[in-house]
């Protein structure tokens, strides 16, 4: 059994069963907005915009304790916490693509154990995007609106219920273990899925002209970054909200006992590239913005074969200077 149908009214009971053994994370409504948080029995907010806090946060927290250190009689002992067993429900294909990029970065060369441990202990249930958000542009980057692999379970909202497909042994196991919630899909359910996703794809492609990596690279070179930077308010939001951004800094807090923390960093901040002497190879906001784009569209593709941008549109949603970041590349700054 690799595909099943989950009726709408079966969703909450399924999550309730899953939550008995795993921490279930899902988009829920808090104070008027959908956010990814621990699910506590409410109706998941699957129709709302993809939450601003990407579920990638559960693999690479903005602030994580790598270990605690305790000094006793002149000797240090170190304590690490094991990762939680989690199921992330309702992750979108763009965020799944972000995980694939991070897998290639954090799984290569020097493996990043805290990340990989969380990756291993987390079940990923992806929701295909049949109604793309206003600022989304995943269609062009190949990171949506449909997921093509890398998930444990994949849901597509067909209206009368969700078509659920397994993409891993863990996914098959969930379908088996919780079969009471599922029923056999009809052959036309698969056709309906294809029809809905083709519609979403068409809508996304209609929004943006197709640009190749070469064209993107040239657009980055030709953009007047000093003009773009002149209106940037240095909030760092674009890089702090990006599901692919992963740069971090490590700090120790506490003497003699304390914690080694890994915190999200941002290359749009001057201190990120400032050298010990005080000199800075990217002193202006424009130069740092340019660097951010180069990383996404040139450096990360060179390393991983995947774009460092998944088209989720979060950077545009949080931008304080209201720069539509995609238009910036397409048309140059306003």
């Amino acid at each position: 059994m690799t595909a099943s149908l989950l009726r709408r009214e079966g969703l909450v009971p399924l999550l309730r069963d899953l939550a008995e053994t795993l921490e279930v994370v899902a988009p829920i409504l808090v104070d008027g907005s959908a956010v990814f948080a621990t699910w506590r029995g409410e109706e998941p907010a699957l129709k709302a915009d993809n939450p601003l806090n990407s579920p990638v946060e559960f693999f690479l927290p903005k602030r994580e304790v790598l270990f605690r250190y305790v000094q006793y009689s002149g000797r240090y002992t170190f304590a690490e916490e094991p990762p939680k067993a989690r199921l992330i429900f309702g992750m979108r294909p763009c965020d799944l693509r972000a995980l694939e990029v991070l897998d290639r970065l954090f799984g290569a060369d020097i493996p990043d154990h805290p990340y990989l441990a969380r990756r291993r202990s987390t079940v990923v249930v992806v929701l295909n995007c049949t109604t793309p958000g206003e600022r989304c542009f995943c269609g062009f980057l190949g990171s949506g609106p449909a997921a093509v692999g890398g998930y444990d379970l994949l849901l597509t909202d067909l209206g009368r219920g969700y078509l659920v497909e397994a993409g891993s042994p863990a996914g098959v196991f969930i379908l088996q273990a919780h079969r009471c919630h599922f029923e056999e899909p009809l052959p036309e359910d698969h056709l309906e899925k294809e029809r809905l996703l083709a519609g979403a794809e068409e809508e996304l492609r209609g929004r943006r002209p197709a640009l190749s990596p070469e064209v993107l690279k040239r657009a980055i070179e030709e953009t007047d970054w000093e003009v773009a930077g002149s209106r940037c308010l240095s909030c760092g939001g674009c890089s702090l909200v990006c599901p692919v951004c992963h740069c971090f800094t490590v700090i120790d807090q506490g003497v003699p006992d304390g914690e080694r923390l890994r915190c999200r960093d941002s290359c749009t901040l001057a201190g990120f590239s400032r050298m010990t002497s005080g000199a800075n190879p990217r002193p202006s906001l424009g130069e740092r913005l340019r660097h951010w784009y180069l990383d996404k569209f040139v450096y990360i593709p060179e390393k991983t074969g995947l774009f460092g941008c998944v088209g989720c549109g979060r950077c545009s949603r949080v931008c304080l200077s209201d720069v539509d970041r995609w238009s910036l590349l397409r048309e140059g700054p306003r």
Binding site: V30, D31, V35, A37, E57, L233, G271, R317, V318, L320
Partner: protein, 675 residues
């Protein structure tokens, strides 16, 4: 992971954000897309707003000074010692010898209870807070001219302005969400006029930039008014129907021809004329101002000049117009609203008004003193002279934030007793007799009132560290020890009491405070709140013009430079939170005085070299940084840094009307430090 919806702790924008909580720890922050101000966006401080919460420096246990050393004590012991010492001093030396300083970082509920502690508990009106150092001139000036000292229009309304005059506000760094709104309005076609001696980011993006000499605001604002009136751009109908005193204003400003203004302020006539046309011709124009306007020894006059400008052009009471004093702290508006001021109860009900006093006496069940008390800086002077002997401070750091640090240090040391409730050790707690560990914004429930009068919820996301407690509990415990009943089961019950005694908060209760909060005045439980003030009439009937004059700017040959102080984007005030936020501190890790390259060359100083800056109040050594964002003759220095406190240099020269000190214009001399 839980997501707790709350309100940002930094500036007055009042952004709605989520604190991400994992196992009782704050692990991140993200903006709330449904919130009317943040709209899914935050500034860099907002994104990092919870980073200081679990810092190991947090105060975790009450401390009492014994034999010159701070010793850990129980809460009961610390609270009893505090209440008894203040009571003894009050009984021996009179209620004028004790005072309370509350905190603009605290909630409304805390400010209300600390004001009640002063008035009902200690029987003194000696209660004030840091608003004295920021918008006291707005409360005084706009209160006199319009009848209300608060921002008249909502931040979002700026999107429908046709012209926006920003003066004395480094908006992109100090109120980034307001700046974002202004820049969005500019993109939609609004003319942006920015007056600032420094070329700040918003000044560099202005359509019309005015660069007046420091301290000459009254002259160029009068000059703008003169050109607007002469050019027939005044709103005669508005002036006739809704104001009083225009003729005297017209005569007063007629002296300020573009040539006279140029002589005083250095603004070329064509720049002034272009700005006057842009502002005067706009159907809807708004004025946005902040500390650069108010922190002068003529701060109230600066505010009155701006009030004259919006009144003469009829830019009040409509969408897209208004006068917008941007409040610096996230709850400095609320602290004022709660009556943490020496002359008013909550809702600006005057202590001198027998009817208002009678109502508060009935509500609190006690007699209340009729005469206004001491203002913040006056408290320091009184302490130094021995008239003030006991002080309770909630979350303020006068050693860093008040003018003339030398005077403040002597004042605090002269006190017989003072206690401080704080979240981190500060330069002020170091001198205290009792230190009480307080809960931070992430650890308590309550409300903050933003710069646009929006009352919003603050929610506890994580438990306080160690034995730290929310200050609502501290204030209530002190009130009980002073014999005033104060049994509040929660901050919500405190808000119910606030609503019952404060007409403008009469309709505010926690269940009504949704994502967007409520803007006061909100007099009853069915009232939808008031986003735009003065739509039909002013609280004083007709608004009043107050002519103000400035015909010469002084200079001092002994101190040839003018020092102006302020904040940076990456730090907040005295840095107790931001200097403990790794990314923010890394952005600006050390103090530097900013000077024009021409001045640096004349002094033989290179960028990064050390200089001595001296004023009549004091001197300090600091690194120089050259930048052409400051004009020749002016230097800028932020006051975040304990290792080089800018307020060693500033003087406690007070504006006679509002008692605000002169922070923005201190004559100094500078020399290169050898070696």
């Amino acid at each position: 992971m839980e997501m707790i919806a709350t309100t940002c702790v930094y500036c007055g924008c009042g952004c709605g954000l989520f604190i991400h909580v994992e196992d009782g720890r704050a692990v991140g922050v993200s903006p709330n897309p449904a919130h009317p101000i943040s709209r899914g966006r935050l500034c860099v401080k907002g994104w990092l707003a919870a980073d200081f919460v679990h810092h190991p420096d947090r105060l975790r246990a009450p401390l009492i000074r014994r034999g010159g050393r701070m010793v850990r004590s129980s809460w009961d012991e610390a609270l009893t010692a505090t209440a008894e010492r203040l009571k003894e001093i009050r009984d021996e030396a009179g209620p004028g010898a004790v005072a309370v300083l509350t905190s603009a970082k605290g909630t409304n509920e805390e400010n209300y209870l600390f004001a009640k502690l002063a008035r009902a508990g200690l029987r003194t009106n000696n209660v004030d807070h840091v608003a004295r150092l920021c918008h006291a001139p707005s409360v005084a000036g706009l209160g006199a001219a319009l009848g209300s000292g608060a921002m008249t229009n909502p931040i979002r309304g700026l999107l429908s302005s046709d012209a926006i005059l920003v003066t004395g506000s480094n908006t992109t760094e100090q109120h980034p969400l307001v700046a974002a709104t202004i820049l969005e309005a500019q993109s939609r076609g609004a003319a942006l006029i920015v007056a600032d001696p420094r070329r700040t980011q918003i000044a560099s993006l202005a359509d019309h930039r005015l660069a007046p000499r420091l301290g000459t605001d009254v002259a160029w604002i009068n000059g703008l008014l003169n050109l607007i009136i002469e050019g027939g751009l005044a709103d005669e109908e508005f002036i006739r129907e809704r104001t009083a005193g225009f003729d005297a204003l017209k005569e007063s400003v007629s002296k300020y021809t573009p040539e006279v203004v140029e002589k005083i302020s250095g603004i070329p006539p064509r720049d002034l004329e272009a700005a006057a046309a842009a502002f005067g011709e706009a159907p809807r124009a708004a004025v946005v101002y902040a500390m650069g306007t108010t922190q002068h020894s003529n701060g109230t006059e600066n505010v009155l000049a701006l009030a004259n400008l919006v009144l003469a052009t009829g830019n009040l009471g409509r969408e897209g117009t208004g006068i917008c004093p941007l409040r610096g702290h996230q709850n400095v508006q609320g602290a004022c609203d709660m009556g943490a001021l020496p002359n008013v109860y909550s809702g600006y009900q005057k202590v001198e008004d027998p009817a208002a006093r009678g109502r508060m006496e009935a509500a609190w069940g006690t007699d209340l003193p009729p005469a206004p008390g001491l203002t913040a800086v006056e408290m320091m002077e009184a302490a130094k002279e021995g008239r003030l002997k006991g002080l309770f401070i909630s979350g303020e750091n006068p050693m860093m934030s008040y003018p003339d640090r030398g005077l403040v240090g002597r004042a605090l040391e002269s006190l017989e007793f003072f206690a401080v409730a704080e979240i981190f050790p500060t330069e002020t707690t170091a001198l205290a007799d009792v230190v009480l560990p307080a809960a931070s914004f992430a650890e308590k429930d309550g409300t903050f009132t933003s710069t646009e009068r929006r009352v919003q919820r603050v929610r506890r996301a994580v438990p306080p560290p160690g034995e730290a407690r929310p200050e609502v509990e501290v204030a209530a415990a002190l009130l009980r020890r002073l014999g005033v009943p104060a049994e509040y089961a929660s901050p919500e019950e405190v808000m119910a009491e606030i609503a019952s005694v404060t007409p403008s908060y009469g309709g505010i209760s926690y269940p009504r405070l949704g994502t967007a909060g409520l803007s006061w005045p909100c007099p009853d439980p069915d009232h939808p709140g008031t986003e735009i003030l003065h739509k039909e009439s002013f609280p004083i009937g007709r608004a009043r013009f107050f002519p103000v004059e400035l015909l010469a700017a002084g200079s001092d040959p002994e101190y040839p430079f003018l020092l102006t102080t302020g904040r940076s984007l990456f730090h907040f005030h005295t840095g107790s939170m931001t200097r403990r936020t790794h990314l923010l501190d890394r952005e600006l890790p050390k103090p530097a005085v900013e000077m024009n390259p021409e001045d640096a060359a004349a002094l033989g100083v290179r960028s990064g070299g050390r200089v001595v800056v001296e004023s009549a109040s004091g001197s300090l050594e600091v690194e120089a940084r050259t930048t052409d964002t400051v004009p020749p003759g002016t230097v800028f220095f932020p006051f975040h840094f304990a290792e080089a406190p800018a307020n060693l240099l500033t003087a406690a020269d007070l504006d006679p009307r509002s008692k605000i000190p002169e922070f923005k214009r201190t004559p100094v001399r500078i020399r290169r430090l050898e070696g």
